[in-house]
């Protein structure tokens, strides 16, 4: 891993690259980072705080949960366990489906000179302008005819409406930075178009793929509209919907609602922490082994 030039260090006297330069209190930066995080995450902290309080104190919640109270969690777990699993399956499925469809498309749009590239990109951009409700309502009638209501594949397909266009646009931006000469060199060496794509472009886009996959996962995990519109029974119920129904009746059981929300965030959080270790430090970092 290489280090970053510190702005105030005079240029010409820089020692060669690979030495750790930050002897100047790296933990200072960690502290600043933690402060930024503290400010950003305060509402999340508040959510967890309320979840650990006894019921009916939402109005005047103290700053800290002095007496930890797990009633909320007990209720939440007993009622929402299977919903969490459903959400997980749909989210992972959506990531896989979106990336499989989007990455070749992004590559084509990034590296091909053809008249249709501009209009296609524009079309994708327009699709992002359509309000979600419009799409959901249209999908309902279609799904009803196709028998896709209350099904996990149906939800995966629907949730990919958020993932695929976004992944295409992001991946294209990143893939555009891959020098054409690299791909040409591979083609000259005899690799076909697909092989060039799979063996050269995809590994070099690992960064972008993980970013796009992460966002698709988050979009799908927190999706509520399609979960609401495209399910009519309790067979397939993502956790966002479970939360919503719970909120409807038990509005004053805020501790249980917050506990459910906290539990709903945990699997995604674990995945996030695991994924960030795999985001390579750029094209060179990943490629030069």
């Amino acid at each position: 891993m290489t280090t970053v030039t510190h702005p105030s260090v005079p240029p010409a006297t820089h020692p060669p690259v690979h030495r750790r330069r930050s002897r100047r209190r790296p933990w200072g930066y960690t502290a600043i980072g933690a402060l930024i995080l503290a400010v950003m995450l305060f509402p999340v902290y508040w959510m967890v705080n309320v979840s650990l309080q006894p019921a009916n104190t939402a109005v005047s919640t103290p700053w800290f949960p002095t007496h930890l109270n797990f009633d909320g969690y007990a209720t939440a777990l007993s009622q929402q366990g299977s919903n969490l699993l459903t959400s997980l399956v749909v989210a992972v499925g959506s990531v896989v489906f979106s990336l499989v469809i989007a990455s070749p498309a992004a590559y084509a749009l990034a590296h091909v000179d053809a008249r249709w590239v501009g209009p296609v990109l524009f079309g994708i951009l327009i699709s992002q302008m359509v309000p979600g409700i419009v799409v959901a309502n249209a999908l309902y009638s279609a799904y009803n005819d196709l028998g896709l209501l209350n099904s996990i594949p149906g939800l995966i397909l629907a949730d990919s409406t958020a993932g695929i266009p976004f992944a295409i646009l992001i991946l294209r931006a990143f893939m555009g930075n891959i020098p054409a000469s690299v791909i040409e060199a591979a083609r000259v060496d005899g690799a076909g178009r697909v092989r060039a794509f799979v063996s050269i472009v995809l590994p070099m886009s690992r960064n972008a793929l993980i970013t796009a996959g992460l966002f698709t996962f988050l979009f799908t995990w927190s999706d509520f509209l399609f979960a609401l519109t495209l399910t009519t029974t309790e067979d397939v119920r993502p956790v966002t919907l479970g939360l919503y129904q719970y909120l409807g009746a038990h509005v004053s059981d805020w501790n249980a609602v917050m506990a459910t929300a906290t539990l709903a965030s945990v699997p995604a959080l674990v995945l996030l922490l695991v994924a960030q270790r795999y985001i390579a430090t750029g094209v060179t970092g990943g490629a030069v082994k």
């Binding site: 960690t30 980072g33 498309a105 590296h111 053809a114 629907a158 922490l273």
Partner: protein, 326 residues
Amino acid sequence: MADVLRRAVRTKGHTVQAAESAPEGRRLGKLGKRGRRGQSHLLFLLPALAYMVAFFGYPVVKNVVMGFQHYTTTTFYTGQAPWVGFTNYRAVISSSVFDKALLNTVLFTVGSIAGQFLTGLTIALFFRRKFPLNGVLRSLLLLPWLVPLIVSSAVWRWILDQDNGVLNRFLGALHLVQDRPGWLTSTSLALFAVIVVNIWIGIPFNVAILYGGLQDIPEELYEAASLDGATGWRAFRYVTWPLLRPVVSVVLVLGVVYTVKVLDVILGLTNGGPANATQTIASQSYQLSFQQFDFGQGAALGNILIVISLVFAVLYLRANRRAVEQ
């Protein structure tokens, strides 16, 4: 393979700059066979195109048509939707809420994007430094996005509560305010509060993408630049910014497109109130369709929204292309 890549890295500066002058993807060098390449790569695109047409084409067309119809609950049952031409558009535009909603939409979007982007970029730049727990902190930063919007709006409503909210308690303790401000209940503060919450929601998105983009800029370029005497702000302006541009474009354009149709945050925090102070075109469209059951008018507003996004996208892309060509 490694040789090829190392060669590419050294020439990357040139390659990328050449790429910059042709943002639409004309990156082919002297090798010909453009036609066949374009054609076979069409197959790469086909699944995505099929999906997009199936899942977006029909809703868009239906929405456009609905704007010209008198579409009510009766229509759902009987299928009758008499054609009324521009009546719906005339009705929504002349409504007393429209001007306010339009202004709010513009303010909300500009404020949110500016706040999200600048804060996100600053944080992303900060996280480029190497320090312990960098990775962990960075991924924790995505937490706000994991919290379901229904729940975060409820939490923010408590935080911003005038009488008992922690924000006012905090500000009062530090003696930063005289009177407890009504963040969500005062017509002058409500839009500001909603924008701040939306910025909060959008920062993780911006940080993650911009950070990814920053990571793609090779260290060697910074080294080369610093040898030439460009560090700090100048390094940012001559190395970081040009190479980050494609990613920034995507982030800004997508950001505007998404923000313009934001609905859940507004409904969750204020429902468009107090007294339409936070009513945007998107929230008004929703209310017309699902609370007053006038789907024709709701669709008309929805289409106006799409046109606004479109105009912005076109203007921005044109301006960007011009700037890049310079």
